[in-house]
Symmetry: C2
Subunit: 470 residues, 2 copies
């Protein structure tokens, strides 16, 4: 009920914004703009809409759900004849900033993740990834395809199965981040598994494409693709860990200010994102690796913040105990970690990605009952396939939470479907069904995940209060 | 001499970077990239190059000079047959980010400027702007044109004069900011005069275009253009000052965190930049007005930083004097002013503008001796016209500093020249001469300005030591 009110409020607010924009838009039509033009307006509009949608937090929902929903609202008011937002969908600058946004997000998440912790969850993450690829692939290719969509070619079923294997880490990572749970063992397993999934997905896509095109995939092709992907990840992390301190020292010699620290970090992120894309991986995998590699140690050559010096000067002559107390209070807030420097850029770009993702959702695909039913069937399989994967995570963790965390297919699933369509194996009807599955897996995961996390917190409290009662 | 070493070092370093990039570039040619692609690499490259060029600071030069010079180096290695950087020149995303960069810069400068202080310099700024438009226009149209470039049409001379009136505030503002002098009365006068210049320039451009097109400009057209521009500036500042606190309160009710504060500020900036462009002004004028309007008072509804609470808790029971001393040491560093939140975005985007400006400089235009001599003549006039304007600033200020601050023509001058060329009045030869004048006024101003500021500081020290000696 509360959620309904929140959503109603969002829609209402977005409707209030529209007339304001309409006036601005009508004016824009007149003079031919030179400079950056209307894109400035779209960016401002998306950012404000994203923040207004933050109202969902008052109802215990992660902010990312609000951003997705307000995006869906903006992208679908055209169904009511309001077409002023249509240009956003084709604005190449907005599309780029959205992609930059998800790169920055995964970089932030990499920075907040600890490489040692990630290594500790290496085995369960690998197991979750493998099961989370095999089960959906088998279900899609041999069960759902032939039963729900009889009469299609084997290749179409192959692609359907491949589409179900993808995991889009962006959504889940944002939910964990919004709710302050990124440090949980479960969150680390999901992140690790999603990265491995991306690598596995790349291999599957290449293999399936080869089968469709040539009738079979050579072992050589498969080996080359696999080697490239593994080499990149291992290489980025090893070379990064070895070279980052040296590069850091070099740059700190030019200037040790926060500007240099910021530039060093963000350039490293963009470079690895670029290199990941170069070898055919998603750029976000490179950004995540960059964040994982860069940790505090690489910035030791950069100046410590002046506030510590100033406070130390102010408390000269105090008792050591007093001194320690004050410095302890100051420390966590003022040390300009690289995370803090990246944060405003994240505030700027990350919401653009999620609102844009929502904007590109086509609600009209849900209007055809038969398509919708088939899509619901496929979605159910998509859920089951990944929830099962969660149970491969081993003991001592919330398996359901991990499985649900792996559900969102996001843009990765859409890329699969698009390639399938361009190869002529996926027809328009299957494409629509896949798109709906991706939408539902993306929109339903945040509230379910939030609910699971809250239930777990409650269980801990209940256990705790029982323990104290004994 | 020192400067030569600096420049040599820059060129050398940029040459070291090239092979690294060449390898990446060669690899890129192979697979067709989906996502954001090579633009990520260009952004990383520009940011790193900008920071390496920061070495000029070790030679007492403002960082912006380094960014311009390294841009010139990157953009002109093609003269030595190295063409790998050519794609940067036509990358529309890089161009947009550069424009966003200068918008953010002027927003930052607006935020650091004080509206009351600006009002205090209103009259001298207005005088400097008027003289700085009239003198170069008269010199260009009636002296330089007919004498240096005889045999052209009166309309060509009109455009030449109009081009000389423009002031590009970005360069000068960066120099003042780099050297920590934005709060000087002289800096405030230059900023105010440059904004007024932009408005005057707009009017002149419209009038000159009308004369060229229709043989005359109607008083009605001139009035409409003037009214629009004045209305925007006054309107933005008045409405902004009245409404910003209310809008701020509205957003702080949704969330009072730094993310909301940041979004509120940056959206306001982008919105005003867009509106400025909509009515035909430069977007940077809107961004500057946005910064001027938003000051601390509009953020009083946002949460005070937690560090103050934590420190206050840690020093409970201390003597009031001790307490005050500690809080005083903490305060200036930890209060998250909106300037601090915008700063990382500035670190990200502002260097892109200056490096891109350098990249678009075509050194080959300097190779023709006759063109070069004519360009030097025009540049001299460009310098004289604005230096004279500085003397309209009244008493008690460094008039030469103000005049030199008004010299850079930057992209505004180039826009004038382009429009003249599209109207068929400015031929290729005059266009080249104008471009060289713009280049020289842009590249020579930072070192001259830095030198004047340092000389002034020395004078103050000398005066001070004389005073203490008495």
């Amino acid at each position: 009920m509360k959620k309904m009110i929140a959503i109603g409020g969002l829609v209402l607010l977005s409707l209030v914004l529209i007339p304001v924009l309409a006036v601005a838009e009508a004016g824009e039509a007149a003079p031919a703009a030179h400079g950056p033009g209307i894109t400035l307006l779209w960016i401002a509009f998306i950012l404000i809409a994203a923040k207004i949608s933050g109202l969902v937090e008052k109802f215990g929902q992660p902010a990312v759900l609000g951003e997705l929903l307000i995006g869906v609202a903006i992208g679908n008011v055209v169904l009511f004849g309001i077409s002023i937002f249509e240009p956003i969908k084709t604005d190449s600058i907005v599309a780029f900033l959205a992609q930059l946004g998800v790169i920055i997000l995964l970089f932030q998440i990499g920075l907040e993740s600890n490489i040692t912790k990630m290594r500790q969850v290496g085995l369960p993450a690998f197991m979750v990834a493998i099961v989370g690829v095999v089960v959906p692939f088998v279900l899609g290719t041999y069960v759902v395809g032939p039963y729900l969509l009889p009469g299609l070619s084997d290749n179409a079923y192959l692609f359907l199965g491949a589409t179900l294997t993808a995991t889009s880490v962006g959504i889940t990572a944002r939910v964990f981040k919004d709710l302050g749970k990124l440090q949980m063992r479960e969150a680390q397993i999901v992140l690790g598994a999603a990265v491995i999934d991306d690598v596995l997905g790349l291999i599957i896509l290449a293999v399936v494409s080869a089968i469709v095109t040539f009738g079979a995939a050579s072992l050589g092709t498969i080996s080359v693709i696999t080697a490239k992907a593994v080499f990149f990840l291992v290489g980025a992390i090893v070379i990064g860990q070895v070279s980052a301190p040296h590069i850091g020292r070099f740059f700190s010699r030019i200037s040790s200010g926060t500007g240099m620290k910021f530039t060093f970090a963000i350039s490293f992120c963009l470079l690895l994102a670029y290199l990941a894309e170069l070898i055919g991986l998603a750029p976000i995998v490179g950004a995540f690796a960059a964040g994982l590699v860069l940790d505090a140690v690489h910035f030791r050559h950069f100046r410590s913040p002046k506030v510590v010096e100033d406070v130390e000067e102010a408390i000269q002559g105090f008792e050591p105990k007093q001194k320690a107390r004050i410095l302890k209070a100051v420390e966590p807030h003022v040390h300009k970690h690289v995370e803090d420097l990246i944060e405003p850029v994240g505030h700027f770009l990350v919401p653009i990605f999620f609102v844009a993702t929502g904007i590109n959702v086509r609600l009209e695909t849900l209007f055809d009952v038969k398509t919708l039913m088939l899509a619901l069937g496929l979605t159910l399989v998509a859920f089951i396939g990944k929830v099962v994967a969660g149970y491969a995570a081993g003991k001592g963790v919330n398996k359901l939470l991990i499985g649900v965390g792996m559900i969102p297919r996001g843009e990765v699933g859409l890329i699969f479907a698009s390639i399938g369509r361009s190869l002529g194996v996926v027809n328009d009807s299957i494409y629509s069904i896949i798109v709906i599955m991706v939408i539902l897996s993306t929109l339903l995961t945040p509230p379910v995940l939030a609910w699971l996390l809250k239930r777990q917190d409650k269980d801990v409290i209940v256990l705790h209060s029982r323990a104290t009662a004994l």
